[in-house]
């Protein structure tokens, strides 16, 4: 009985260790490539390596990145595409979320599901169909065509964020505003908008991050004049592995993490402000 009990307990501990080891391995699997790419960008030396105490750090690769007009052009293109795509996603997402929550749009789930559809379509297909369509209607070679394609992915997510933001705003607040003499627009402007502002910012950042990092659609739609940063990294990765690529990738990574951090802060702040 005693030994039996001990064996059982040991087995349980082993199982527990294995369980946590599994969790750790998955996390490592998810994060190690990111950290490697990030670390390499600081390695002083022409070859690829990780900086150590002996080698020290360098920002040379970042300097090289920002000195090369082609990389900077790519960064600028990425920025424009992101801004346009974010604007489209916010307008579409906010109007639809308003229609659903404030005007009881009929067939809400159907519209929501339809809008969600592109998220489940691989970027290659969206890229392909956007390319042939852009060529047909004369949008090919514009940053807007890339931004619209990105908005197909970003809009549904922005919509979901805004929908939950609007749902948290009690409709009675608008009725109260109306009873106090506020027109529907004034009620939106003074009551709803300030309360959903954190959600709007979060949605904007998510949309922007999606656009910033997407590259397959950009690969299909991009022309030499409209290369986004990820599209420029792509051939470099396949053919030569230079630390500048690591720096370029890390620029994207850093921009993304900053954006997410802002979003997380703002959303938490918003919750705190509403006393939740």
């Amino acid at each position: 009985m005693g030994t039996h009990c001990v064996i059982e307990r040991v087995l349980l501990i082993v199982a527990k260790c294995a369980w946590h080891a599994f969790g750790l391995i998955v996390v490592a699997y998810l994060l190690v490539p990111l950290l490697l790419a990030f670390g390499v960008s600081f390695y002083p030396g022409r070859s690829i390596g990780l900086p150590t105490l002996a080698t020290g750090l360098t920002l040379d690769w970042y300097l090289e990145f920002f000195r090369d007009p082609r990389w900077v052009a790519g960064l600028r293109n990425s920025f424009y595409v992101g801004v346009i795509s974010t604007a489209i996603s916010l307008v579409c997402g906010l109007t639809l979320a308003l229609a659903v929550t404030r005007h009881r749009l009929r067939g809400e789930t159907v519209v929501g599901t339809l809008l969600m559809l592109p998220v489940f379509v691989p970027a290659v297909i969206i890229g392909m169909q956007s390319l042939v369509f852009a060529q047909r209607i004369g949008l090919w070679g514009t940053l807007t065509s890339i931004a619209i394609a990105h908005a197909l992915w970003a809009t549904p997510l922005a919509y979901l964020v805004l929908l939950s933001g609007l749902r948290r705003v009690n409709e009675e607040l608008e009725e109260a505003a109306a009873s106090l003499g506020a027109s529907p627009w004034a009620a939106f402007r003074y009551v709803v908008w300030p309360l959903i502002a954190p959600s709007v910012l979060a949605a904007a950042i998510i949309a922007y991050v999606i656009s910033l990092n997407e590259f397959i659609m950009a690969l299909f739609l991009g022309t030499p004049d409209t290369e986004t940063l990820p599209k420029m990294i792509w051939p470099q990765i396949r053919h030569s592995v230079s630390p500048v690529v690591a720096a370029a990738s890390s620029v994207l990574l850093i921009l993304t993490v900053i954006a997410i951090a802002i979003a997380a802060r703002v959303v938490n702040l918003g919750r705190a402000m509403q006393g939740r």
């Binding site: 009725e175 109306a178 009873s179 106090l180 506020a182 027109s183 402000m273």
Partner: protein, 355 residues
């Protein structure tokens, strides 16, 4: 000043929420809409405020139909059950919002806000946000906000339902004081009959979307028009009886109670042979000691002392129970459980409704 004519509300695919409602609220009146949940009282309020569109009938405010007037152009204020304070505004900003929306010049607003905050006794809390206030304080802000721009009519949707009992009693007195001080016409929705009886100038009782009775608290209590009103307002005993004959003058009838005793006079003209329920208020019953048996007797099942009165539940031979409330007098010894009692009523004529 507010007039509803045959107003109806039908939601698609469900029963009628409000049916042919006629109602008139006089200027300066403190009017109550009283009814259980689902009686259509909140829907009625929302139609008056303009949040719902009546599917039939006519709503007039100061002689003008307001069917086509959007909520923000109606001169109607509203206090919500859950207050609906703007969480991102301070107390002052909340109260000033209506003034701003109605175009009061910025310079004049602080005085009005100060005035109305003093009226609801919130001076000193101006800079707080709603989530820094207690429930009672939030209630006062909601009231101040709705009163600030002096609407012609103030609607209140169960504004006290979320307060604890002590606060509620306090707020009732405050409300009455404010209403009298400002002279605002108020339409107050509640399911709490005590609230309506103690505060209301007049009460409209609603049930299943229909107006059951409109009258002063005393009228509703003394002369309920329907069986529903009789049971909803105050405690009421219903005694089974059979009508014997209608009296000559036509406003009274005679009935024989199932618990026996002499024939009972009842109000209204009922055909002979009809089964009716006869209404007796618990405080209108007088208990007398008896040796037991016989007509109009029962056995005390429960006796509870509650300060100024004693409540009894008396088991009747028919199997029903009769509630009795007697003043607790020092001169009179109470009854105990198991005592046999004889029943008498103070009123010679009782209300009765068809069963």
């Amino acid at each position: 000043m507010l007039k509803l004519e045959r107003v109806g509300m039908r939601f698609a695919g469900s029963v009628d929420a409000v049916v042919d409602l006629d109602l008139e609220v006089r200027a300066g009146e403190f009017m109550f809409l009283l009814g259980p949940s689902g009686s259509g009282k909140t829907t009625t309020l929302r139609m008056i405020a303009g949040f719902e569109r009546a599917t039939s009938g006519r709503i007039e405010l100061n002689g003008r139909s307001i069917a086509e007037v959007p909520p923000h152009r109606r001169d109607v204020g509203m206090v919500f059950q859950r207050y609906a304070l703007f969480p991102h505004f301070t107390v002052v900003e909340n109260v000033a919002f209506g003034l701003k929306m109605r175009g009061m010049p910025e310079k004049e607003r602080p005085r009005r806000v100060e005035e109305v905050l003093a009226l609801v006794r919130l001076t000193g809390l101006e800079a707080r946000f709603p989530d820094q206030l207690s429930g009672g304080q939030q209630q006062r802000v909601a009231l101040a906000r709705a009163l600030a721009y002096r609407p012609a009519l103030l609607l209140l949707d169960e504004p006290l339902a979320n307060l604890d009992r002590r606060l509620r009693d306090e707020m009732r007195i405050e409300l009455k004081r404010i209403q009298q001080q400002m002279g605002t016409t108020m339409l107050f929705v509640t399911h709490d009959q005590e609230e309506a009886l103690t505060l209301g100038d007049r009460i409209a009782v609603m049930h299943q979307g229909r107006l059951e009775q409109l009258g002063t608290p005393l009228e509703l209590y003394r002369k309920p028009a329907t069986r529903f009103v009789a049971s909803f307002i105050g405690d009421m005993n219903f005694l089974l009886a059979e009508c014997m004959h209608a009296s000559a003058c036509g406003t009274k009838s005679t009935a024989r109670l199932a618990i026996g005793g002499p024939d009972q006079e009842i109000a209204g003209r009922h055909p002979a042979g009809r089964r009716v329920v006869v209404c007796v208020r618990p405080e209108r019953v007088v208990l007398r000691p008896t040796s037991g048996g016989g007509a109009r007797t029962g056995v005390v099942k429960y006796a509870g002392f509650s300060g100024d009165s004693i409540r009894y539940a008396v088991a009747l031979p028919t199997g029903a129970e009769l509630l009795v409330r007697e003043p607790a007098l020092e001169s009179k010894a109470g009854f105990s459980v198991g005592d046999a009692v004889a029943l008498e009523w103070v009123d010679p004529v009782l209300n009765a409704f068809p069963e």
